[in-house]
Symmetry: C2
Subunit: 399 residues, 2 copies
C-alpha cells in the first residue's frame, strides 16, 4: 500500500537521486502496509457489518453530495459502485486514489492531489440509494423507501433535494472530505453527475455523550439526547434495518437529509427567555427546565407544552428515536443582507415511518421554532449494509 | 474578563446551587483575566502596530464578509467601528461578546452563543475600507485606492465583488470564524449590512515556510515562495504602507480579494505532464523544474517560458511581491453537474500598483492556467494600521 505521506517521501527520494532538468514522476510503491494516521486518530475501518459514518463518532466537517445517474444501466452502475468502493477503501485509509503515486506523465493523475500529505483525518464515506435509483434500474424498491410526506412550512427547492444516490463524506479535516467527494465525482463521469452538494463546517449532533456537546447556530447545545454511537442495543432497535426489510438491506439504515435555513437575524433579536422557552433547555448549560445539568434526565411535565425538546422527545412520541449527525452551514449571503446559514440535518433510522416522519409531523405542527427556521431541501435514501473485504457498495441489490 | 469557558463553569455553579423550576440565567463575572486558549495555541493579540490576520501564521479556516453602509453618516460609522472593535477584542481573546454571561432574560443575548465553550482558536479579525467607504463618508480617498483595472478573462459578478467595508475572520475552528462574522453582522444592524460573504475551508498559502505547504484544489502546493510572516524586512518593503501613503494609514496595507473559480473537472482530465508544465513545478514534491526539493531556489531559465510560477515570479516582474493568504472553497454545485469550487485569493501589499496589478496583468495575458480558471469576484480595500489599547479600527481617518 502507498499512503499519501509515503508517496511524498518516495517521490522526494527519486528526485533527490539526481533527476533534473524537468518534471520528476515519482512512481514509487512500497511494501509497508502501515496506514497514515492523524495525531491520536487512527483511520476509521471501511469494512464491517454496517457502513462507517453512521454510528462512528461524529467528525468535525462534512461534504455531502447527491448524484443523478446519467447512464442508468445496471452494468454501468455496478462498475461505478466497484470503482467507488475501491477508491473509498483507499481514501478512508489515508491513501490516494489509484494504484500508485500520481500515475504516468502523459495521463491524467489517478488522484486529484489536494489531500497529498494529509492524514486520513477519520474520513468516512457512506452511500445511500434513493427511490429513483431503484426505479430507474428496475430494482425492487423497499416499501419504506417512498417520498417523504409534505410537512407544513416546507419550502423545498428541487435543486437542493433528492438524487438517485448520495454520498456523505465526514472527516476532521474538510480538505480531506472535499477531496473524497471530488474524486468520486471524477470517477462517476459518464455514469453519474452531481445533482447538488452541501458543505457543513461544524458538527451539531455528536454521538459521544461523554464529550462536549456541540452547539448549533441558534447557540444551543444540539444532540444531548442523541443515540450514542456505542450503544449497540439502541442502534439495533432504532437505526439498523432488521429482518423486516429486504434481506439485501439488513444492517443498513434510512437516511433523511433536510437543509434547514435558520433566520438567524430574527433569532438574534429574540430574548434569552423566549429562546430558552422555545427549546425547553437553558442556553448556557443546556439543562432541561427543572433540571440543573445538561445530561440530567428530561422531566417532560416541567417543560413548556410546545417546547421543541418536549415535542421531539421519545416520551412524547411513543418511544420513537433517530440518530442525528447534523452540521451547521453558512453558504454566503442571500442578497438581502442576511447570511444563508442553518443546519444541514442528517438523521439515520430503521424506518422513516417510525423515525423522522412522526417527529417532523409533531414539530411541523406546533413547534414555536418554526418561526425561525424553514426546511428548504430534503432527501431520503436507504444506506446498504457495510461492505465485506472484496465486496462493493450495494452488492446485495444486484445478486 | 469572562472567557467563554469560564462563563459556562460559572453558569453551571449557579445552576448547581439549586435554582430550579425554569430557566437559569448565569450572569456571573469573574475577576481572573486569564484568557481561554486552544491546546498549544495562545490567542492572537488583537492590539499592535499592524492588524492581526495579515502576517499572522495562516489559520486553517476563513469567513470573509463584505459590507455596505446602510446609514453612511460619520457619527453612525464611528459608533459602529467602536462597537466592532470592542467585540473583536473580546472574541479574539476567546470571550463572548458583551460584558458578562448571556445578558438579562428579557433582552436578546449579548452573544449569539454558538462559540460558547470553544477556545479562541487563533481567531483574528481584520478590517478593510473600500473606495466607496471614503466617497460615501466624504473622507479623502488615498490615491492608491481606486478600482482595479479590467483584466482579460475577468467575469466578475457584482454580487460577489466590492463592498464599503470588509472583514476577514480567520481561525483554526470554522465555527469560531463564522460566529465572529455573524456577531459583527448583528452589531451592524442599522448601519451596515452584509453585501456578500465567503467561507474558505482550507488554507492554500501559508506564511510559515518551515511548516508543510498546503495544496490548492489543483492538487499543487500553493505558497512555497510566499512572503514569510516573520520576515519584518520583506513586510516593510512589500506589505506595510510606509511614509508614502496618508499618515492615518501608515502601517496598514492594501487587500485584494479575488474569487477564482476553478474548472476542476477539466483540470482533472489533463495529463500530469501538462499540469506540471503549466505551473513549472512538480505536483508531488513541488520542486521547480530543474530543481529537486520544494524550497530549492527557482531557476527561471529552466521553467517553461509561459509557466505560472515563472510569470508570477518576482524575478520576472522587477521584484514585485505580495503576501498571499488564500483559501479553497466549495460552494455546492453549479447546476451543471460540476462542483462550484476554487480559490478565494487574498493578497496583501503596500500598493496594488506595485503588487497585485502587475502580477495579474502578466498572468491574465499569457498564463496557460487561464484555460482552467476564471476570476468571478473581486474587491480592493485598504486595511488601516493596528489598534492601540483604547482605540478603534480606522480611528486615524476620523481625527
Amino acid at each position: 500500500m502507498v499512503t499519501r505521506r509515503k508517496l511524498l517521501t518516495g517521490a522526494g527520494l527519486v528526485a533527490g537521486a539526481g533527476v533534473a532538468g524537468g518534471a520528476v514522476y515519482g512512481v514509487v510503491r512500497q511494501a509497508d502496509p502501515a496506514p497514515a494516521s492523524a495525531a491520536g486518530h487512527a483511520p476509521i475501518p471501511f469494512h464491517g457489518a454496517h457502513q462507517a459514518g453512521i454510528a462512528t463518532p461524529v467528525q468535525d466537517r462534512l461534504h455531502f453530495a447527491a448524484f443523478d445517474l446519467t447512464n442508468p444501466t445496471r452494468g454501468r452502475v455496478v462498475a461505478l459502485l466497484r470503482l467507488w468502493t475501491a477508491a473509498a477503501e483507499r481514501m478512508t485509509a489515508g491513501m490516494q486514489v489509484g494504484g500508485g503515486a500520481l500515475g504516468a506523465p502523459l495521463a491524467p493523475p489517478d488522484d486529484t492531489g489536494e489531500a497529498l500529505g494529509l492524514p486520513a483525518s477519520r474520513l468516512t464515506l457512506t452511500i445511500g440509494f434513493g427511490a429513483s435509483f431503484f426505479d430507474r434500474l428496475g430494482l425492487e424498491r423497499p416499501a419504506a423507501l417512498k417520498a417523504l410526506p409534505h410537512f407544513p412550512g416546507d419550502k423545498l427547492d428541487p435543486a437542493r433535494s433528492d438524487g438517485d444516490l448520495c454520498v456523505q463524506a465526514c472527516a476532521d479535516d474538510p480538505q480531506v472530505a472535499v477531496h473524497a467527494v471530488r474524486n468520486l465525482v471524477r470517477l462517476g463521469f459518464g455514469t453519474a453527475g452531481v445533482r447538488w452538494s452541501q458543505l457543513g463546517f461544524g458538527k451539531t449532533s455528536s454521538t459521544t455523550p461523554e464529550e462536549q456537546t456541540p452547539r448549533n447556530l441558534m447557540g444551543f447545545k444540539d444532540g444531548t439526547n442523541n443515540i450514542p454511537g456505542a450503544d449497540a442495543k439502541l442502534l439495533d432497535q432504532h437505526v439498523w434495518i432488521g429482518s423486516e426489510g429486504p434481506k439485501a438491506l439488513a444492517g443498513g439504515t434510512y437516511l433523511v437529509a433536510r437543509r434547514i435555513r435558520m433566520h438567524i437575524e430574527t433569532w438574534d433579536r429574540t430574548s434569552l427567555k423566549e429562546q430558552e422557552d422555545i427549546f425547553g433547555r437553558t442556553k448556557g448549560e443546556g439543562a432541561a427546565y427543572g433540571r440543573t445539568r445538561e445530561h440530567d434526565p428530561v422531566d417532560l411535565a416541567r417543560l413548556p407544552a410546545d417546547s421543541h425538546v418536549r415535542l421531539a422527545n421519545p416520551g412524547s412520541l411513543g418511544g420513537v428515536r433517530i440518530l442525528r449527525r447534523g452540521y451547521s452551514f453558512t453558504d454566503g449571503s442571500d442578497g438581502l443582507g442576511r447570511l444563508d446559514a442553518g443546519l444541514f440535518f442528517l438523521a439515520y433510522q430503521r424506518d422513516p415511518e417510525t423515525g423522522f416522519i412522526p417527529i417532523q409531523r409533531a414539530l411541523a405542527k406546533t413547534d414555536p421554532l418554526n418561526e425561525y427556521i424553514q426546511h428548504v431541501g430534503s432527501g431520503l435514501w436507504v444506506c446498504p449494509p457495510g461492505v465485506a473485504q472484496g465486496g462493493f457498495w450495494g452488492q446485495g441489490l444486484f445478486s
